[in-house]
Amino acid sequence: MSLDSAPVLEAKNISVEFGGLKAVEDVSFEIPDRSVVSLIGPNGAGKTTFFNVLTGLYKPTSGFVIYNGEDITGVVPHVIAAKGVARTFQNIRLFGLMTAEENVMVAMHSHLKAGIIGTIIGSPLQRREEREAREEARALLSFVGIGKTAPEFARNLSYGDQRRLEVARALALRPKVLLLDEPTAGMNPQESAVFVDFVHKVRDEKNLAILLIEHDMSVVMKVSERITVLDRGMKIAEGSPADIKSNPRVIEAYLGKSAEVNK
């Protein structure tokens, strides 16, 4: 376990308000390097909003986001992405009319250097860069287990393969943190079980930290080293899967008060 290592991404007292609505209220949160941590909570708890703050899509009303010791609060999304915070989307957002390979190569944009002139004249540097990028993309596709789909349009892939392609695309950013927004949505129990191993494989082989938003509790309990629970924008609990399972406030948030009484 790597929970003791220094945090690679850190959120300090994050609050997000939309008009009068407080979507996230004073949430502090750490993702230790090379850990797998989860963010759970009932619908509307502010999980995705929090995600969007980490990736720069929303600017928090107050609080800071620290990545690798650097303040990235309010930095534009593409810069944060290029620094190494990658994400997938709850409802798959691939570039449907581009091939799987191209999808992955888009995410290499910030690593590639070829300019307009270099691309037009096809300079040796640009050619080599393209070749290497293509090879890397193929390798990433194989890594997530969909190597054969490289020349196919993303929109033609099966649902499961699209989910995998999203991960491959995110990995092409060479991230230090990978944020997965409900990655098992729409998967059956067998697929979800395979997914747990996949998450650990990604973490171990790509040396990165993973933050999950997840609804499937069996997945969350198996995959996470630490779980943070949000409810109505506030952090109500944090700890190991075993702690969270028995935490009365968490049970209350999910099932309501009477459920605990019945128990």
Binding site: P77, R93, L94, F95, M98, H109, I116, I120, Q126, L173
Partner: protein
Amino acid sequence: MSIITRKKSGSKRRKVPASQRTWSIGFLTLAIAVYIFYTYIVPHTPDGFQSQIQTWFPPSALNEALVWVIAALGLNIVVGYAGLLDLGFVAFWAIGGYTAGWFMSGFFYQLNIHFGSESPKTFPGIHLSFWIVLLLGALICAFFGILIGAPTLRLKSDYLAIVTLGFGEIIPQVFVNGENIHGFNLSNGTKGISPVDNIGLFGKRLGPFDLNYKYMIFVFMAALMVFISLRLRSGRLGRAWLAIREDELAASMMGVPLMKTKLSAYAVGAISGGLAGVAYATHVNGIFAERFQFSISIILLAMVVLGGMGNVWGVMVGALLIAWVNSTGLPALGNEINSTFNTNINFPSYTFLIFGGLLILMMLFRREGILPESRLKMVLHENDDDVDNEAPHKNISEEEAL
């Protein structure tokens, strides 16, 4: 199945899809064939045939169509690749045209600058070589592309279209009214700038009637734009453009800087608009402010959509076709009909009616354009799969019935 073979060819040399190569060879062959036809064959044919050619396919119409091709290819980068709806492309055409007016005519008669031009040294004004002016036109248009794009490209879809429409109106108006800007004559107003210098080619001055030489130059420019489009499309920038077209938010989350990428699409598009403007100025031998109308933007857009958005060859076919219909096809057809039926209908005045009808028909029956980009075709014909699947069954049942 084809992964192994792809990998092999990919690692050895740059991957050029076979169809692109076929198209490129086809384009060059056709261009040369047309040249030979007009230069060596037509003069030796009977007069009747020559006059038919003059009526239906005059060489000047061909040259003008090529100018449209150059501009349409630029708009294709903006609209077809990056998905930014631009309704004011005429602005760049106008700026390119006036660049030619400023730098290769006697317009600035106070000056006497000659460089690389074939016009006599005694002529006042700025006379630069056509090739330098092309470069200047490209640079100036790229600059204005960025200048116009920087504030507008933050807008999305419909809003962007409206604002570009505004700029497409503003810039030609500036030229129309630019006769006296605090005493400075920018554009000579509605009188326009004429004549523009002849193109110098290897020490030869091309007069207004050296159409075959101009044809070669315009073909070369169109080929250059095709080359640039294809190269950029297959590279890092092209992927980013397509990604923005597909899903802007996802693209930015994958490290694609939206503004910079959109601006580069706009600038490259503007460059080709500038090239077309310079070419057009030499083609009509002058620049006339009232020609830069909104309809040019719309016709260019129609060329891109009709031909097949995102596919350079489709756009080229669309541009050639529409330009021909506009300049010769319709008037010639009209004359034919008028003389046959003894009527007196002014067909060219119905251009837009026919145009609109054509577009509606296209959108009803072939939305993806004449030569679509394979990607677009897939989306627009997604539901046809059912029909295709049913077809074989139908055949079988027919056979059984027999």
